[in-house]
Subunit: 482 residues, 3 copies
């Protein structure tokens, strides 16, 4: 699966052909003969593809079709095409021949493990609940869910299956999911962000690129960015962003606004670009209850397990201070942390515990009970939105799409459904279920009687009620007296 040999030869021969003058130190001196042959046809048959390449940095570097698409004999996806052995798929392993540092960083990131989802909960949803095994292909004769193929896999990636004569299985390609598992064993797809065939850095710096996957009900980072001051400034000052600059150091090359890349990946005066997007993140808000990123990395056997959230936060602060003073940044993090803490303690922890207690009373298959959906959307959709919203200062996502929805779901659906479930089974003939129902009811009672929730059962203390009344009146009087 290693294309290094062939391609090294390709480069070498390109250099050798030039003969007369000393070989260049870096890269080919002119475009190889094989690539010229590719172009002779493709400029006619795929003119826009050809032009995208012509507009790329690869063009001036004499990196043409064959320099990336050539294959070695024996590679599973290699096939003869007009007398040249090529492969359609260009993988991170291929890209690493010229961009080894970037691929190395990327391979340590969560991004590169995106396809891990194929063995997870969300995959049960797409495979069984939403889907069936109706999409049968040569490579997947038992069939696969079209909901997974067209949905999950397009962001997360999948294992690309190779058919006879180097063809790629239609259920597994087209696929530019960021955690794609390639026939050569490498993980990822560089063109997930550096879209074909211009492979531009400017493209990858643009928030739309991240928005291919980081959007929608369960992780609306793109929408939050657009609401935040960061996005507002970006969209109003795009022409000042110097997006095409190779260096692109914040505060040196641009200052009007940050994009997703600025904060999570790009260079500052002190930090180099990184392709491991987790190194500046101090919370992992993906699970039911937020955890620290090093904990998540440890679970996935990633080297980030050794990098504490404090280090990562310091990395991010180094970005922030280009535009904000230290007090601002410190205070921002106090606000963000407070929201994560509110969600975790008021909803995440008790919600998760109650769901565990309810499980013995539920029908066997997950998502066959209304309660499954209720809890899932509470943490996976709404609870994330609140936390992500606060992380990027998008107030409507924090509140209206976030904590408001969390609270509505909790009090108007989750609690009544749990109550009904417990009551229905209190006298269950199955003693185990009756006991489970009693345990659930007891814990639910404790939760509702706790400081955070007792308003719901009319037990807000008179002192607190009076305090709130007073505060509201004082506040209103402020405006009325004017």
């Amino acid at each position: 699966m290693n294309r290094l040999t062939t391609r090294a030869l390709v480069l070498a021969s390109t250099l050798a052909i030039t003969g007369a003058v000393p070989a260049q130190v870096f890269g080919p001196r002119e475009l190889g003969e094989q690539s010229k042959a590719c172009i002779a046809c493709h400029r006619e048959h795929s003119p826009a593809l050809y032009q995208q390449w012509g507009d790329s940095k690869h063009y001036r570097a004499n990196v043409g079709c064959f320099e990336c698409h050539s294959a070695n004999e024996g590679e599973p996806d290699a096939y003869m095409h007009h007398n040249q052995l090529i492969a359609v798929l260009v993988t991170p392993k291929d890209c690493s021949r010229c961009h080894s540092k970037q691929v190395e960083e990327f391979s340590k990131s969560h991004h590169s493990k995106g396809a891990r989802i194929l063995g997870s909960l969300d995959n049960v949803l797409a495979e069984v609940v939403e889907g069936n095994r109706g999409f049968r292909t040569e490579g997947l004769p038992e069939g696969v869910s079209a909901a997974a193929v067209n949905g999950c896999w397009q962001c997360h990636g999948t294992e690309v299956k190779v058919l006879a004569e180097g063809k790629l299985d239609p259920a597994t390609w087209p696929n530019s999911g960021i955690g794609r598992i390639n026939p050569d064993g490498s993980e990822g797809a560089c063109n997930a962000c550096h879209t074909r065939h211009s492979f531009s850095a400017a493209q990858a710096r643009h928030p739309s690129t991240c928005g291919k996957c980081h959007m929608g009900p369960d992780h609306p980072q793109k929408e939050i960015y657009e609401e935040s001051k960061h996005g507002i400034n970006f969209f109003a000052n795009l022409n000042k962003m110097n997006m095409e600059s190779p260096k692109w150091v914040v505060g040196e090359d641009y200052w009007a606004a940050p994009t997703c890349a600025t904060c999570h990946m790009s260079a500052t005066k002190k930090q180099a670009v990184t392709h491991d997007v987790g190194l500046r993140i101090s919370w992992n808000n993906r699970p039911e209850v937020s955890i620290r990123p090093e904990v998540a990395d440890a679970k996935m056997n990633l080297p980030g397990a050794g990098i504490t959230w404090e280090t990562r936060r310091a990395n991010m602060v180094d970005v922030c201070i280009n535009c904000h003073d230290t007090q601002w940044v410190t205070n921002f993090y106090a606000q963000y942390d407070s929201l994560v803490d509110l969600y975790n303690t008021k909803f995440g922890v008790p919600g998760k515990e109650l769901y565990q207690l309810a499980k013995p009373l539920l029908a066997g298959a997950q998502f066959a009970n209304e309660l499954d959906w209720t809890w899932y959307e509470l943490w996976h959709h709404e609870g994330r939105r609140a936390r992500h919203g606060a992380s990027m200062m998008g107030p409507d996502y924090t509140h209206w799409h976030g904590t408001y929805e969390v609270a509505k779901r909790f009090y108007s659906e989750y609690v009544p459904q749990l109550t009904e479930l417990a009551e229905r089974h209190l006298a269950d003939a199955d003693a185990g279920k009756a006991a489970a129902a009693a345990a659930l009811r007891a814990r639910l009672g404790e939760v509702l009687n706790s400081e955070d929730h007792k308003w719901y059962i009319g037990k807000m203390s008179p002192e607190e009620a009076a305090r709130r009344q007073r505060a509201a009146e004082e506040f209103r009087s402020r405006y009325e007296s004017k």
Copy 2:
């Protein structure tokens, strides 16, 4: 209603005035006297309108106010305005005097029949359920629903009513709905896309233009485009799009990204521009169960009835191959078709059948039952989103806004509501209803016991469960072993 005569005279006289030199072959040699008179006032009173026109192609072509707004004696909406007989409304019939090919193509399209909705289901919603007949006008004295006027009609168009002295009824105009029915009998509004008063092609090529109507919960094409690689590339490369180019052939004049127009309307090296937007579409995903576009065209007596989906798909493929190779395109269509098939077979067909079986048990008026809303949103909102999402490779719309919502609606609402409805009527005094309830329950049982749905009732086969367990574990081990 035909303005041809007057306006031909207008053009002729413009030419005649010039006298001394031979008349031009095409178009007026200079701006007509009548338009000059219009401008004398409107440059003061409507300065932005005047400037938009000044920025349009019409300006240099000496096509001014009067060339479009002049009217013939006897036209219903003609009226005297500062001694010139004019009409406010400029219709496709008027535009066809110079743009006959475009109007002809447009008149064969679904777009031109947009107002047909006024006799359909959605109209019942807007007229009765959401609305009333509280908006009473001179032209519609019985009253009309403000929800239809401000909602449906603004995209679909309506029949424009003419009042005394050429005034237009306020319930029916302003209206630039794409299927507007004009006083001269023509259908459509060119300014639905070529917005006044610059009437620009570049404007119509911009995805925002299509997004006026193709957005929102039931047909979020604009949002899907924005999530897709196509939209991502467009928004990051707008300055390379050469949007103002008259020719605008993909692969020749631009290559950075396609817009809606590129794929559905604009020129390729082999295909000319078309104003019939359905000629490259191979599925009609509008109804409960997707159909082929020629079937839809036949229902509407459109000439497209004779154009098979294979031909239309070939038309689209001719666009795709400018940027993608043939294998990519073939495989994409396999993925897209698989999603349409999944939705149709697992949810669309049985869902529709169950709704028919439930009807005898429902209250008379549609939308007076919760079940009506449940089924409607399942196919009309969520089911479309899934299919549209797959058609343009927007993975979150396919999955999170699509199949996820379809499945949630089906299992957590539709099935329980159907079950409850059947059970409530099994012993109905009305023998017909009892029989209907039994039939509904029987069919529901069959559906839930079918391969696609039996997981829900805990009947996933042990083999399948074991297979899934194994696959998930293998997948996880992949990452844990590293």
Copy 3:
């Protein structure tokens, strides 16, 4: 709290230093020594901030760091920073030293009273239902809700608390909410729209800026604008918008499209710019039932109480006619008014009345009942969307996100919940509750039997049903006969 004295001295001394030539009439002749000292460090430590300022109008006007951030002895948030007494917060009072007219106008607007929300219903949601008092700070030792801090307060503003040594309490700052209550008693934050540190008018004219707060489920003005022709034209013609022009008079300096600012704030040939955004609005669609803006102003003791909606509408019409003729504008308002009237009469008024009648039957705490959420979303989310959608001609927001959702909520949730509530209490042991239940049931019956709602109970008159049938058939035949 008044920084005038110090800063006047700063300016004066800047002028005095120049000595030899006569002092300038306006503004400092060169950048002050103190600001130069600030820059010496901050150009290194906050390079992007420094560059933003360098890109601002302030740069050429010699208004530097110290000119805005200097503080007087005794100001609560003043502190010594490298031997200069400064304050972090720059307030409208500070800005008014150079921009007095703008601050004066702003202080009369609803915008400046944004923090009034802190004593309102939405605040109960964020403080109690969604939140707790878990975010404890030095300035707010009793604790405050992180949902309010990260949500509500970021748009509405909050009271900024000053800690020891001029530090700002982290729960109350960062905060650029438009109604922020500053330590100097002034209200607002100019950088809510004129974002730091370029403070640009062009930025404030861009719809993204308004979209920081005017978006989301309960007031999606940004989304509606994007769907409207106004937004469509803007996004396709951004390069023609002349956004940086100081004068920026519609019809003179630009004509391609209006932004939010164009219609609500910016200059026309006849009107000057205003920073009171309510002066061109003829409906206040915020409450359960729309009211006129002068009524809302009177409730808030704002000077706008004396400015009728007719005057405000005339102000807006003066903007509209730059692009639209008078008949168009008049008819548009007839359409918009009809939608407000439909919502008010069919849903707003009876819905509010029924909720009042239901209250005696509900659990004490608001939002502890499902009905609370149902009614709240009907008017506060969906009912607003319909009205806002019509106000800006966004048909999908008017209909699919608006009246459709209103009707669905009303018929499939609100009416059934009210019915169930009334029936459950008809025989209540508490005679008061039984009487309340009877009253609720009676009024609900009247509402459902009224002309607007009787379709729901199957009582559409045969004449009306026949009329509708006929109309639909005629409409369909139109297309079938072709």
